[in-house]
Point group: C2
């Protein structure tokens, strides 16, 4: 980046809010994804929409790449620079602007931490359902850009289902306002849904209005262990077949159970092939009835042990195993790579089995946990990026996992995004026509390709070694 | 259209499924919108995706416009031809392909009547919530293309919220498959949501997978009358403020009440300024508690009369007034023009008042009913298209209504679509940047502009006489 351009950019935010030293830039050269890193030229913290517009206009004039970044918890290298340029932070645009109880909406700046939104609306008896595991540190701007999921996806959907309106700085610097505080709006194409999950590749989201729900009155938590994986999967299907949609329906495999037990020593049965964490929320009578029904059903499906929490403290204690899963696994090897291949709910048992076989085939340690209710699994490869030979096997294992997920009607990413990491696999899911359509949209909105370049679209698609034809 | 091209098209479906006589073409020259009409050159009923692809390839080669048409219930001139070309009907692609109870999805062809989907899933204890008033005759393909709403929007959302996956024939003739039977999928841009509500302007939807819910166990119905409009509006706000989200929360103004009473003689109090129809569904205890609370609240808000149905028959009798509203109004003048300006829920009273003032200002008969819970109103102008002077006043009244709705944070169309009719007003809602972004997308996907040309995008934007700055 030319010095003169850098000066222009610094003048917009003031030098107190511009980072340019190598030490500072290093901190924004990577995100939570292993093995992806590149330095930006400058990191800016604008304080207003107008400052964002000015930055974008300078970048547009000089064709400088812009990466919008929240807290950098991305797991698909979606927020790492690929070719220098500007990283925009939203740490100064972190205000809750309005809580509108009559229309059940909250309007926020992108830098607000998602957990803060939860807490603010809870004070008023309201509820913002999307709960990505990172929510205590991730920003709502990041959640919206990635269409984050979470543990409540089955019953409550994902971030996109709650975004009512966006203000976006387009690559030209112009402002676009989409949607509104409206339950119904069909005035042209759904630009709101298009920008949600677009991973910063179409524009910069600078204001967000989210829909809210009345908070559920109560919640109950049940933990169930199975000696056979299939029985856990059958339980998931039977619950849905019984027309019950739990708020949470989480899964951990034997490797994960064992890792958690080694980490915490809380008495988990490490001889079990599967654990389910099941929660229902809502009106007390309904929660009581649903959970009793589910409990009976789990026993019928051959659960070897169940624990139903009677208090909130007990519920927290029971769900801790699932919450620490990733930390427990991360202790075992230097590098943890968390995947999120997702399949239709009916195919979970097949997918988990296949992952176990793929681990054996490539001689890798893969443990799986995730959101069984919505088919969103997190096969987690425990590895070491310094071992090139092993990393080659990791790559092959991913390819096998994606390929098999797609053959089951699934997708390469349920909630983490495509980023730079999964870009070479996107065509496997959406086909040539899908890639061409998405590239057409990208080109129409960002003709200079300055918005988070190198993400979603890869230079080349990975060769598919085995193509399933199921 | 050249004879030779016509022959090519007829060869695709066979002459039994091609309509070319003027009498036949006339039937497809208009839809449910008053005052818009133009003849197509040919009407085709393909029997398969492949036939649709062949038709599109011929049209693409010769730059022939294609209008996809379900049952023609569109209210914004979205399915009238604008410049000849082909109308594609889906009366031979009308099969339910699969009901997947494990994944709670149903896969259908576009020509299936929406009511048929409701009935099929109800047999299995399942529920497809979107319920546009036209559902007993409209097709699901039309509903998806228009992102249809209905009476249950407040609690259950609209068509887009239930579309999981689409198969689309692109303007090139290529097939695009979006989404899947997945609760979570972030593999690139949300093409599913983009095609939903795109009014046939981006491609032809040939297969649809919809998400389903477990059917609610029970439902209760309450009808309430108010002598003052404001009290009805306050009731709507108070219900939401009390954290209750009813399944239905419908509104009728005095003009509509009177028209229905003249039509049916069912004893409606015609001296009332407003009627609310409130329904809750779900588990019996919750429905009972919610409806008791709502009933008490209505009385507190000054309702002058309430009726709570105890049986399904009684509920049907109570809701008949709302269901016949449009028919009752349509009897009064030769032409009925149904609008669907939509505002945030909190602004309903202001909007209804403004509509009444606009009616007086332009000396028109406008009655309003609609979905109060989601702010989606249907100001209905009773007029006569043969009276040019009056039609000019109708146009001015619409402009005033749209302008005021937008000033309240609303939109020009909540559930009917933009079509040809509202295209000149779209920029008022989405601004120049919105129009440019949408046109860019249209151009990228349909560069020859053969997909339902003349819809959504107008040659010129209507001049805004009064611009509110609230």
């Amino acid at each position: 980046m030319e010095e003169q351009v850098k000066e222009q950019l610094i003048a917009i935010t003031g030098s107190a809010y511009a980072k340019t030293s190598t030490a500072q830039l290093l901190a924004y050269s990577y995100d939570a994804t292993a093995n992806f890193q590149a330095l930006p030229d400058i990191v800016l913290s604008p304080s207003s929409i107008e400052e964002v517009q000015e930055i974008v206009r300078v970048c547009s004039a000089h064709r400088i790449p812009i990466v919008s970044r929240g807290s950098g918890t991305n797991l698909a290298a979606g927020t790492t620079p690929t070719s220098g340029g500007v990283v925009i932070l939203f740490n100064r645009m972190n205000q809750i602007l309005e809580l509108d109880e009559e229309n059940l909406t909250i309007t926020v700046q992108p830098g607000v931490i998602t957990q803060e939104i939860n807490e603010r609306v809870a004070e008023r008896g309201l509820f913002y359902p999307p709960d990505p595991s990172s929510m205590s540190i991730s920003t709502i701007g990041g959640n919206v850009s990635e269409n984050s999921g979470g543990l409540r996806g089955l019953k409550y959907g994902v971030t996109r289902d709650y975004v009512k309106s966006l203000t976006v700085v387009l690559p030209s610097g112009e402002l676009l306002e989409t949607g509104g505080k409206l339950a119904k709006d069909v005035a042209g194409y759904d630009l709101t849904s298009l920008f949600v999950g677009s991973e910063g590749t179409l524009g910069i989201i600078v204001e967000i209005t989210l829909g809210l729900l009345p908070a559920p009155i109560t919640k109950k938590t049940l933990v169930v262990f199975y000696d056979k994986l299939e029985r856990a999967a059958e339980t998931v299907s039977s619950i849905i077949a019984a027309k019950i949609v739990p708020a949470t329906l989480e899964f951990m495999d034997q490797g994960t159970i064992t890792a958690v037990e080694e980490f915490m020593q809380i008495g988990l049965p490490t001889n079990c092939e599967a654990m389910l964490l099941i929660e229902q929320d809502g009106d007390p009578e309904v929660v009581e009835r649903d959970m009793e029904f589910v409990h009976t059903l789990c026993m019928k499906q051959g659960a070897i042990s169940t624990q139903l929490a009677q208090t909130k403290e007990e519920a927290d204690r029971l769900s801790v195993a699932r919450r620490v899963a990733l930390s427990a696994l991360a202790r075992k090897r230097p590098t943890t790579i968390l995947e999120d291949a997702t399949v239709p709910r009916s195919e979970i048992a097949k997918m988990v089995k296949a992952i176990q076989e793929i681990a054996v085939k490539h001689n890798l340690l893969i443990c799986t946990f995730g959101h069984a209710g919505d088919g969103n699994l997190h096969p987690t490869i425990l590895t070491d990026t310094r071992d090139e030979e092993e990393m080659a096997r990791v790559e092959m294992a991913f390819a096998d996992i994606f390929d098999y997920a797609i053959s089951l009607g699934g997708t390469i990413t349920g909630e983490h995004g495509v980023g730079e990491m999964k870009a070479p696999y996107l065509e496997w899911k959406i086909g040539k026509a899908g890639i061409a359509t998405m590239k057409g949209i990208k080109q129409a909105i960002d003709p200079l390709n300055i918005m988070n370049p190198g993400k979603i679209f890869a230079k080349s698609t990975k060769k598919r070694v085995v193509v399933h034809n199921e």
